[in-house]
């Protein structure tokens, strides 16, 4: 192939795929919401905003997200301090464990809090959001905190500032950008939270996301589409505002390598602080998961595998059409297919982005699926791929939706790796007789392989836990594990509850397996190129 032809091919695949499976459904929703009868008509949007219940939903969405953000910051900032400023044995393990809740599927998080005995309540939602987003704050703020020069605080103390004054005037000031970034992410996640609200909020506490789902289930597509447009606008506003806030913060900070700024635990007060923070983190993050696992073994007839055995049978009167065990096979198959799609499409996009001078544009386009909520995507799928373009009956639609959520991750992980390949390596291969195609095969691909594998791991984990889009498009006879968990939790009865616990535990173990595989690949990546 001629270079120009090859370049077009590399661009064409991701553009066509994202265009058909992402932009087209989105445009369909916009059409339903804004052009219901062929002309621009804002009345559905107006009707929705005028309705008291929808205004209530919008207000609840905003304040629960704001409160979740504040609570998460309060809970996680001390942990960010301890794991970055103190050196102690097992620090890396502690940091890794703190990240576990974030990678868990939202239905597992919700299940875990149901396991703890939380029923439908606002408290349950808030604490689940704190649990889920804890790692965002620890990682984002801790990442900057580790690099702050402690001598700046020393300098403030020498200039007469009290310990507290030095902390607020120097440390908090320097951390502001990271705190702001973390808060933006947590707010966005809480704003678009779906599984947690649906399972822990109950029917009376709806956010925009869950309301879209409810309206869809009531076959009120017009309102659902209008709500999705509203949701889309809200997310865009959020992204723009947080981008503005963070763009303005760029100040030069005296940063130092992380290793220099962590200090060993010396005094008794050090020990009290570290022990206290770690104990509360363990209580908050560890208890729900431990209880989830233990309750999966806690059956009416004592401790045992009863709930797991129950997964293999289709009980009379069940909400499911197939034995729950089938969902494991479905989930694994979908995850595999979604991973392959994400790898092929995302890999092509990564190469296109890395090689293009206008890569930034494609970067932004590919980031869109991250901003658009999965629920919106799911609704777009069921509206757009109804007849005449009838894909609804095909199971492939589910892994395709999953892959759309995963593609940005593959691109963001692989493109920098490809971009970092020294161009002279390609030239060296050329001078040794390699044609452009062979250079790609012999240099680009092997070097990018690890980045692509990490991306694949993410895609697998994302697909396993995806619930927002799946709730709309999974066919009743081919449910995924998250769908089964959701259905079982919605049913009364000890057996259903036990089965939900067992299914959640299985989902958790599968997800953690995928994440562990990613971490191992990443660890090997630290060699110097």
């Amino acid at each position: 192939m001629r270079p120009a032809v090859r370049r077009v091919t590399v661009w064409a695949l991701p553009v066509a795929f994202v265009g058909f499976f992402f932009v087209y459904p989105l445009v369909t929703i916009l059409g339903r919401g804004l052009w219901p009868d062929g002309g621009l008509d804002l009345s559905p949007l107006g009707d929705v905003l005028a309705a008291d219940d929808v205004r209530g939903v919008l207000w609840f969405t905003i304040w629960q997200a704001a409160l979740s953000t504040v609570l998460t910051l309060i809970a996680a900032l001390p942990a960010a301090y301890v794991v970055t400023r103190y050196r102690f044995r097992g620090r890396m393990v502690v940091r890794a464990l703190m990240t576990v809740p974030f990678v868990l599927p939202t239905v597992v998080v919700a299940s875990a809090f149901r396991a703890l005995g939380f029923e439908h309540s606002i408290g349950a939602i808030l604490i689940a959001h704190v649990f889920f987003n804890y790692a965002v704050v620890v990682r984002t703020v801790g990442g900057l905190w580790a690099h702050l020069d402690t001598r700046q605080v020393d300098a403030a103390r020498m200039l007469g500032a009290s310990r507290l004054r030095a902390f607020t005037a120097v440390t908090l000031w320097a951390l502001r950008p990271a705190i702001l970034a973390a808060a933006s992410i947590v707010f966005l996640f809480s704003f678009t939270s779906f599984g947690v609200i649906l399972i822990l909020g109950g029917p009376r506490r709806a956010t925009l996301e869950t309301e879209i789902f409810l309206r869809y289930n009531q076959l009120d597509l017009r309102t659902a589409a209008a709500l999705a447009v509203l949701q889309l606008l809200a997310v865009i506003v959020l992204l723009v505002v947080s981008g503005r806030l963070q763009g303005r913060r760029a100040t030069a900070l005296g940063l130092t390598p992380a290793s220099e700024s962590a200090r060993p635990i010396r005094s008794r007060s050090d020990r009290t602080v570290v022990a206290g923070v770690l104990a509360s983190a363990a209580a908050l993050l560890g208890t729900p998961l431990a209880v989830l696992v233990s309750r999966s073994f806690d059956t009416a007839t004592g401790f045992g595998f009863g709930s797991y055995d129950a997964l293999t049978e289709l009980r009379r009167g069940s909400v499911l059409f197939v034995p729950p065990i089938d969902a494991i096979a479905n989930s694994l198959l979908y995850a595999l297919v979604a991973t392959v799609i994400a790898l092929v499409v995302g890999g092509a996009a990564a190469f296109a982005v890395a090689r293009s001078r206008r890569g930034g544009l494609l970067d932004t386009v590919l980031a869109l699926p991250l901003g658009v909520s999965a629920v919106t995507l799911g609704l777009g799928f069921v509206i757009a791929f109804d007849p005449p373009i009838d894909l609804r009956t095909s199971w492939v639609l589910t892994p395709i939706a999953h892959s759309l959520v995963a593609i940005p991750f593959v691109v963001f992980i692989a493109a920098p790796v490809i971009r970092s390949i020294d161009p002279r390596l390609r030239e060296a291969a050329t001078m040794l007789g390699a044609s452009p195609r062979v250079v790609w095969r012999e240099v680009d691909l092997p070097v990018a392989a690890r980045g692509l594998m990490v991306g694949a791991g993410f895609a697998f984990a994302i697909s396993l836990g995806e619930f927002g889009a799946t709730a709309f498009i999974a066919r009743p006879d081919r449910p995924t594990l998250p769908v089964v968990v959701f259905r079982l939790l919605g049913q009364p009865g000890v057996e259903n509850f036990g089965a939900a616990m067992a299914a959640s535990t299985i989902l958790m173990v599968l997800t953690l397996g995928a994440v562990l595989a990613i971490e191992r690949l990443r660890a090997g990546e630290l060699g110097t190129f």
């Binding site: 002279r424 390596l425 060296a428 050329t430 001078m431 040794l432 007789g433 044609s435 012999e442 092997p446």
Partner: protein
């Protein structure tokens, strides 16, 4: 034989290589010497086909290489900092060019072993290139470029990444290896000791052109331009009629009856001698003078400098 005729390479409006002519005969080692930014690397890349040329031609044995893809030119290229493939071991690096030429497995094995022995790396086949020292990496890069037996071997600052002691040791080794293999070599460097020690001929480039080309002895004995003279560490002085001459390094000395008068503007100490900078009465030239035994003058002193006429070479440019 490689022939370069009127080669011009432009980056935007500036010419990095400006209608340059150069010939490398079979078995000949030509060193291209010049300061950084003089266009040396661009010259190699243009010959390799990695840089597109504006005008001129590159011919190998009379055949124009313009339009021949870089991977089909059969030229060896050793990059500065080596550009070894990090994802392949030593053998994978050295064998790469042989695989591209579709040699059989047995041939590749034999040739790889042979070339590694040539550069003194027997038994290194399965070492990771990331674990090698700088000198070892340099040898692997050399072996990789040599393995396919290219018609011309080009080296871009082959010893540039190494420390001084190792560089001096390898300079001799390189020359010996090239001679033994009877290779045609085009080597680029900014270090004149290296260029003079390795090259059959040395070409000094300045602003994209060759200022002077000749055997090391010719160039050293008679620099052709003020640029070459200064680059080689000579003093350059203007006479009353505007003509310039070059004075061999260390040929100037302080003498009360010296013909040249000037003011000392700076003095530095260098291990076994002082070096003073003298601004001449004409106000445009400054000379560097080494002083070994006599008590050195201090800045502000007026001094007279003497020189043996045999150490003065008139400059044409």
């Amino acid at each position: 034989m490689l022939e370069i005729r009127g080669l011009t390479v432009r980056f935007g409006t500036t010419a990095a290589i400006d209608s340059l002519d150069l010939t490398v005969s079979d078995h000949e080692i030509v060193c291209v010497l010049g300061p950084s930014g003089s266009g040396k690397t661009t010259l190699l890349r243009a010959i390799a086909g990695l840089e597109s040329i504006a005008t001129g031609a590159v011919l190998r044995d009379g055949v124009d290489l313009t339009g021949v893809a870089p991977n089909r030119r059969d030229l060896g290229f050793m990059f500065q900092d080596h550009a070894l493939f990090p994802h392949r071991d030593v053998r994978g690096n050295v064998a790469f060019g042989l695989r591209m030429r579709r040699l059989s497995g047995a041939e590749i094995d034999a040739r790889t072993r042979e070339v590694l022995a040539l550069v003194g790396l027997e038994g290194f086949e399965h070492r990771s290139v990331r674990d090698l020292s700088g000198g070892e990496q340099q040898r692997v890069a050399l072996a990789r470029a040599l393995a396919p037996e290219p018609s011309l071997l080009m080296l871009d600052e082959p010893l540039g990444a190494l420390d001084r002691a190792l560089r001096e040791e390898l300079t001799g080794e390189l020359r010996e290896l090239f001679e033994r293999l009877g290779l045609a070599v085009l080597l680029v460097t900014h270090d004149h000791d290296e260029a003079f020690a390795i090259g059959d001929r040395v070409a000094i480039v300045h602003e994209g052109r060759i200022d002077q080309i000749g055997t090391p002895v010719e160039v050293w004995r008679e620099p052709a331009s003020a640029f070459v003279a200064r680059f080689l560490g000579w003093n350059v002085m203007r006479a009353g009629d505007g003509s310039r001459s070059a004075i061999r390094p260390d040929a100037l000395h302080v003498a009360t009856d010296g013909a040249i008068a000037g003011v000392v503007v700076a003095r530095t100490f260098h291990r076994d001698h002082f070096r003073i900078r003298v601004e001449l009465a004409n106000g445009t030239d400054t000379l560097e003078v080494s002083i070994r035994d006599a008590p050195p003058p201090t800045p502000g002193d007026v001094v007279r400098l003497g020189v043996d006429p045999a150490d003065v070479v008139p400059l044409r440019r």
